[in-house]
């Protein structure tokens, strides 16, 4: 029992019946830097949120400095000395440094107003103590990301944090700022503060951390001293699962004609330079970690975001300016990542949602919607996709299961007989049975000659359905793996690869 | 499901309570009015005159054993039309109306005629082809002429002559046009007393009046009489006179005479205090009486012999103030 500060035992957590954490055990020692690694969806955020009091666990125990720790809300967690430095900083960019430091803890005057003088003096003291290169009255948003981060760290220390959790802290930092951060972490360590460091930049993990914990599919795989790990072993730990998925075996051919092509697409700094081509009948996967830019790419391809540079070629027609209407005209379809906010009209019926994309095929002579044709078509789609709904006219989609909802999304796009499909996490939040059905749909579309771009964070799924897999990292394609060479480790390596 | 309809039921009962209560109250007096009812459609009760007039109508009606029902349009002519429609639906025996807009009210007059319900206009007249059965108005022209005549008589006795400016209201307003005509009539009749230096159109707009009067005084510094067609214009008059250092009571060396019209609080107060010298007061109570009388006669089936019934008003001067003023409607508001 070498100075264990935080002890976590057997934590389980499920969301809507889907189990996310399966009995997680780990401990954090005083004054150590513990690295936490894992793929997207491994459960890192969920675990941290439980520690931070954002939501409660289903079962299990936590002990902080020997006492039971069951935070009801984040305020309690902060009170017990746990601070979160999020990836997107938890600060108010329109307020000053002083105001940010004292958010939630404003000193009051006798009358109840905010004691600005006292605040300012206290802020100056902290600025001196942490050597922050700022003025108390500086507006936070005007400072570079590195400095903002330092303010956030200072805020945590002001709140007497004993444990600091860093979640992907270096994504917005410059090289120098990163070095400063590491220096700060070293200092904190010396003061006896414990740190949990989450990152997928393995190089940094190896540099900073005393021990490393691997989380995979909601389970802790192993925790060891850093010196006991090699990078290869780490990667193997992150992906080394048994492939248990079932995928349809449908014969299809990849044809010669290229239906969708991206030429040096650039969008803000999320998509830096992406080129690829997809043929009719081909299913091309796109893997990558969070923040790689895949969703942004998909949105640019469909005209939801404007193309900064580059061209999109559909059916041999080249476009440098796109909008969804144009894409639909070219026979393209886009299944978004978040069906709740961008895929379905949640409060409307199944029928209404199915009819969203192209009703002009269902008009009669007067330019009026042909009710009968609409009904016939809807029933056909519902049968075809096996959408489980009793009364499609009146049943609202928000009452359906995730799998059925996603099928409705598919349904509405198949009106158009889409020849180009852009799918962004099409089986997210979908149960196993429905997943299989969705894979069949995708296969059949490809068999019918459509070109499919399949974006996903589940390696297994991609390996089971795609003809080849592209890997995206930091806005670029870092590599491509053809079917015969499919390998989990290789794909993750490409997703983690550092660019030198 | 149960709970939903329960709460709906409660809301529903609460909502309809006023209907039921009122209905029960009115239940007895359903249709075929045994008592005669007069509908009173007024623009608003915004001025003192209207308050007194309306109250007088109600009282007068009571004296005759007649009920009244009042509706206020609050400055909206189309609402007034709608309210009159409803009065007709309630089968009142006659309607007394103070219109917001003399042109917009025509459609209501038509409806009254169609329904066979007599309508009496009060204080504001309607012109054109379609007229109400009776119009009770102040005899604007005669009163305007008389007030200046009275003033002229005193001037002759004192051997004074007056150089005057004449303020004019909005000429599309019948009342303003008639008053102007009356004033001019008196001026022409008494050339040895009056000399007209300027006419100042005001459009019944206080700002326009202010500027116009100011310019006129500057151009004609020898003016010693201002004739106003309404007490409504007192604020700009006072303001301009104060600016020119001529706001003074009778007897002071810098006093300038003013003669006005209406008999409202302001005019009468200034008369009492000595800033105003004569005022032609519209008789709110008399007009009320005349209106009610006409309405009842018409409701009884008599036909009106003449369209206009005049309120000759009262001329109040500094001299006769003690005797005449108490009869004026605004007297009780004076300090």
């Amino acid at each position: 029992m070498r100075n264990i500060l935080l002890q976590i035992s057997n934590i389980t957590k499920s969301f809507s019946g889907v189990s996310v954490l399966h009995g997680v055990n780990f401990d954090l020692r005083k004054g150590e830097v513990l690295g936490l690694v894992g793929e997207n969806g491994a459960g890192k955020s969920t675990l941290m949120n439980i520690i931070g009091g954002v939501f409660p666990m289903d079962s299990g125990t936590m002990e902080l400095a020997g006492e039971t720790y069951l935070p009801k809300n984040p305020l309690v967690a902060t009170g017990r000395g746990i601070a979160f430095i999020h990836q997107d900083l938890n600060l108010f960019s329109n307020l000053t440094v002083t105001e940010n430091l004292f958010i939630g803890k404003f000193p009051h005057t006798a009358l109840g107003g905010i004691d600005r003088k006292k605040m300012r003096l206290a802020a100056l003291e902290y600025i001196k103590r942490f050597s922050l290169p700022v003025e108390p009255e500086t507006v936070l948003g005007s400072l570079p990301a590195g400095i903002q981060q330092m303010v956030e760290i200072s805020k945590s220390l002001m709140q007497k944090a004993r444990i600091l959790i860093f979640d992907e802290p270096t994504t917005s930092l410059s090289r120098k700022e990163k070095e400063d951060l590491f220096a700060t972490i070293a200092e904190l360590k010396e003061k006896g503060i414990s740190i949990i460091y989450i990152s997928h930049i393995l190089e940094d993990i190896f540099r900073l951390c005393d021990r490393i914990t691997i989380l995979r599919d909601g389970r802790i795989i192993e925790t060891r001293e850093t010196s006991d790990f090699t990078e290869a072993a780490l990667i193997q730990g992150m992906v080394g699962r048994e492939m248990t998925g079932v995928f349809p075996s449908i014969e299809k051919e990849v044809l010669k004609s290229v239906l969708l092509e991206a030429k040096h697409i650039k969008w803000k700094d999320k998509v830096k330079d992406v080129s690829f081509a997809i043929r009719a009948g081909e299913i091309v996967g796109m893997y990558g970690l969070m923040g790689a830019g895949r969703t942004e790419l998909a949105r640019v391809l469909f005209g939801v975001e404007p193309i900064d540079e580059g061209e999109v070629v559909m059916n041999s027609r080249s476009y440098s300016r796109l909008n969804p209407g144009l894409c639909i005209g070219e026979g393209a379809a886009f299944i978004t990542e978040d069906r709740h906010r961008e895929g379905l009209l949640m409060t409307k019926s199944v029928d209404e949602n199915l009819g969203l994309v192209k009703m002009s095929r269902l008009l009669n002579w007067a330019g009026v919607v042909d009710r009968k044709a609409v009904d016939t078509f809807n029933q056909f789609v519902i049968r075809n996709l096996r959408i489980k709904v009793a009364d499609s006219r009146h049943q609202t989609v928000n009452a359906l299961s995730g799998g059925n909802q996603q099928k409705v999304v598919f349904g509405k796009w198949t009106v158009n007989d889409p020849k180009i499909l852009i799918l962004d996490e099409p089986t997210k939040g979908v149960d196993v049975g429905a997943k299989l059905e969705i894979y069949s749909v995708i296969f059949n579309l490809a068999k019918g000659g459509s070109a499919v771009l399949f974006i996903s964070s589940e390696i297994e799924e991609l390996m089971g359905t795609c003809d080849r897999i592209l890997v995206m990292k930091d806005g670029r394609i870092s590599g491509e793996v053809a079917k015969p060479e499919f390998d989990q480790k290789r794909l993750l390596e490409l997703a983690l690869k550092n660019d030198n | 499901m149960m709970r939903k309809s329960h709460s709906m039921l409660i809301v529903f009962i609460v909502l309809l309570a006023p209907f039921i209560l009122a209905g029960c109250g009115e239940g007895g007096r359903g249709d075929a009015a045994k008592t005669i009812t007069l509908g009173l459609s007024y623009d608003s009760l915004e001025s003192g005159w209207l308050v007194v007039n309306h109250a007088a109508v109600v009282e007068e009606a009571k004296k005759h054993g007649v009920e009244t029902v009042s509706v206020m349009a609050e400055g909206d002519p189309s609402k007034q039309n709608m309210q009159i429609e409803n009065l007709i639906a309630r089968r009142v025996n006659a309607i007394i109306c103070f219109p917001k807009d003399s042109s917009a009210i025509v459609t209501s007059i038509k409806k009254c005629k169609e329904a066979g319900i007599p309508i009496v206009m009060i204080n504001r007249s309607v012109s054109g082809n379609i007229l109400p059965d009776v119009q009770v108005v102040a005899n604007n022209k005669a009163m305007a002429e008389r007030v200046l005549d009275v003033f002229a008589e005193r001037a002759k006795r004192e051997g004074k002559t007056y150089k005057l400016v004449l303020l004019i209201g909005n000429l599309s307003d019948e009342n303003a046009a008639l008053r102007k005509a009356g004033h001019l009539q008196s001026i022409t009749k008494n050339p040895d007393v009056f000399k007209l230096l300027a006419e100042i159109p005001t459009e019944w707009n206080l700002d326009t009046a202010l500027k116009g009067l100011q310019n006129a005084l500057q151009a004609n510094p020898e003016v010693n009489l201002i004739v106003a067609p309404s007490d409504y214009l007192w604020p700009p008059i006072k303001s301009v006179l104060e600016q020119n250092g001529r706001w003074a009571k009778v007897g002071a060396s810098n006093h300038i005479s003013v003669v006005s019209f209406d008999g409202d609080q302001m005019g009468m107060q200034f008369l009492k205090d000595g800033y105003n010298e004569a005022d032609a007061a519209q008789d709110a109570k008399l007009e009320a009486q005349l209106a009610v009388e006409s309405a009842l006669k018409l409701a009884g089936g008599e036909k009106a012999t003449k369209n206009f019934t005049y309120d000759e008003g009262q001329i109040v001067t500094i001299e006769n103030f003690k005797d005449v003023a108490p009869a004026v409607w605004s007297y009780r508001f004076l300090k």
Partner: protein, 320 residues
């Protein structure tokens, strides 16, 4: 037709109508019922237009100012302009002008919301003030009086004078029927609902969101123009004060009828019931001698009703 579940206001309306018939004196006379219907005509027309905008999650404050400007411009054409001498020309010209003004105002609103990205609340409030100002200025320039009279007799037919009392009703019903048809049977209608629920989803599904919004605003403006015709004909004068206090009643009708202000649910059928309910209520309160301010309190309270009932319903249904 599943009416009752969809429209909690319908039984309320029927009940209040029955109660009024029984307990409110003079309510049940032919004369009064006829008035009631006529009084509801222009309200129905404006409310239909407003329903489109509310379905989109927006609001249009400018509809009542269209009434004001249309009224004075139309009256000017028919009574004071050179055309006034020939009603055969002046009346159609005036009608075109009134609707045209509504259309223009709608276009301006649409442009402001779509291009300038102003929220409809702000944009239409601004147009309301500007158009009102224009109406008052125009009226004072062309006429000494606050109203413009001397309109041709033939025009009054549109206001339901005498034996033509069916005319405004027919116009209102036609507008209603067209609105209902647009909303329930055409692509445009589907788009209106889709954009109202979630504009992002609509956009990704290829719906021309911006064009749809502009059309909505234009429809609202045009309908206001048509209502202006009826209201001006009924009052038989052009007035810059026309429609002054109408907005409260209009939005109350739409909301009480059950169209949700957050967009995407409701429709003109609900608005129709809302209009009838409010008209009956207003009429009954008037007949009972209840003052203007008290009626406003009652109507204001009514707006709370659908919010309450949908809360009660959603308490069961919430599945987010």
């Amino acid at each position: 037709m599943r009416l009752a579940g969809d429209m909690p206001i319908l039984p309320l309306f029927v009940a209040s109508f029955v109660l009024a018939m029984c307990f409110v004196p003079h309510f049940s006379t032919i004369y009064n019922l006829r008035n009631c219907l006529l009084q509801s005509a222009d309200l129905l027309i404006i409310s239909c237009g407003l329903t489109f905008v509310v379905l989109n999650g927006g609001i249009d404050f400018s509809v009542t100012s269209v009434l004001a400007l249309g009224s004075v411009v139309g009256a000017y054409i028919m009574a004071l302009s050179p055309l006034a001498a020939t009603p055969a020309w002046s009346i159609p010209a005036a009608l075109a002008a009134m609707v045209g003004i509504g259309l223009l105002v709608g276009l301006v609103n649409g442009f402001a919301v779509v291009r300038l990205k102003m929220p409809s609340f702000v944009a239409t409030l601004a147009t309301q003030l500007i158009v009102m100002g224009l109406a008052v200025q125009f009226a004072s320039k062309v006429s000494q009086t606050s109203s413009i009279s001397g309109l041709p007799e033939a025009f009054f037919v549109l206001g339901g004078e005498g034996k033509y009392f069916l005319v405004p009703l027919l116009v209102a019903l036609t507008v209603f029927a067209v609105s209902d048809w647009l909303l329930s049977r055409t692509i445009f209608g589907r788009r209106v609902y889709a954009v109202g629920v979630n504009p992002k989803v609509a956009f990704i599904s290829g719906i021309p969101v911006r064009k749809t919004i502009v059309w909505l605003m234009v429809l609202s403006g045009c309908f206001a123009g048509i209502a202006c015709i009826i209201a001006t004909a009924r009052n038989q004068v052009g007035m810059a004060s026309l429609g002054d206090k109408l907005f409260l009643t209009t939005i109350a009708s739409v909301i009480v009828g059950g169209t949700s202000t957050s967009g995407g649910s409701g429709g003109v059928r609900k608005t129709l019931v809302g209009v009838l309910f409010i008209t009956v209520l207003n009429n009954a309160l008037n007949l009972l001698g209840v003052g203007w301010y008290t009626s406003m309190i009652v109507i204001g309270g009514l707006i709370v009703l659908p919010a309450c009932s949908s809360h009660l319903l959603n308490g069961r249904n919430s599945r987010r």
